[in-house]
Amino acid sequence: MEKENLGFTLVEVLISMMLLILTTVSLLGSLDQAFRHYRTAELRWRATIEVWNQIELLRADTPAAGDPLLILPDSRPLYRSVIRDSRLLGQSGWEVLIADR
């Protein structure tokens, strides 16, 4: 009588384990990427708030600070400042124009 073959062979078990490990590693990698993106978004949000606060304080300062710009002759000069933050990736900076009062 031929012996009935029950269970899995070694190769089948190894392939299943390999697929399981690959799936788990892929899921963990995706999770890691998601957390990294979230952290970047949080840093950029904080940097935006800080730049915003700097701009509001700059605009409130009297006399106005920055490089003077004369758009029209005999007009009130505008003052130009550029605020940059290394955390705001891909942005050349925030340009602030303030009129002299």
Binding site: R46, I49, W52, N53, E56, L57, R59, A60, R101
Partner: protein, 186 residues
């Protein structure tokens, strides 16, 4: 000759015990995963509400705090935990009508019951942003008003240590325009 069909008692006991252990382990792992997801959801909810706050505050406060020059009402009133702003922005014909009757001409902001609440005109305080634990205002640098916000989760996440409070300071410049918008006061 006796043929061995099925499993013996000992085999059944071992198989049941192993199945039970595997099932229990599965439940424990799923439970932990579910708890982690729930805690993560609390933090994401807190952050999404908190990140929205500066956008809405700057949108509401800046126009309402600007036009207060020689008005019969106080323009900006700072009390502990409460900010009151009054400004004549527009009337029925599109021009100022000397009344604080339009929406967002009279604004009060406070944090209560973990909500940022807003009162516009004669209405009641309405919750607009969740997870705002406290809110304070500083007018020492007027015309710049500084708002300090503290945000927390709805409940303490069991997977994390500490209270997980987030803080933020937002400055908003409140110019002091005359109603005509031509000359500016101090």
């Amino acid at each position: 000759m006796r043929t061995g069909r099925g499993f013996g008692f000992f085999e059944m006991m071992v198989a049941s015990m192993l199945s039970g252990l595997i099932f229990l382990g599965f439940l424990v792992v799923i439970g932990q995963f579910q708890k982690g997801c729930s805690d993560l959801n609390l933090i994401l909810e807190r952050d999404s509400n908190f990140w929205l706050a500066p956008l809405l505050l700057s949108r509401w406060i800046a126009p309402t705090g600007n036009n207060r020059w020689e008005q019969p009402w106080p323009g900006v009133v700072v009390q502990p935990g409460l900010l009151e702003l009054n400004s004549e922005i527009h009337g029925k014909g599109g021009f100022p009508d000397s009344e604080l009757s339009s929406s967002f001409e009279s604004l009060r902001l406070r944090a209560s019951k973990s909500n940022l609440q807003v009162k516009s005109g004669q209405g009641n305080f309405q919750p607009v942003i969740k997870n705002i634990a406290s809110m304070s205002f500083d007018s020492e640098q007027m015309p710049v008003i500084t708002i300090r916000l503290e945000a927390g989760t709805d409940r303490s996440p069991s997977s994390f240590e500490g209270n997980l409070l987030e803080t933020m300071e937002l400055s908003i410049l409140l110019r002091n325009y005359r109603p005509s918008l031509f000359l500016e006061g101090t």
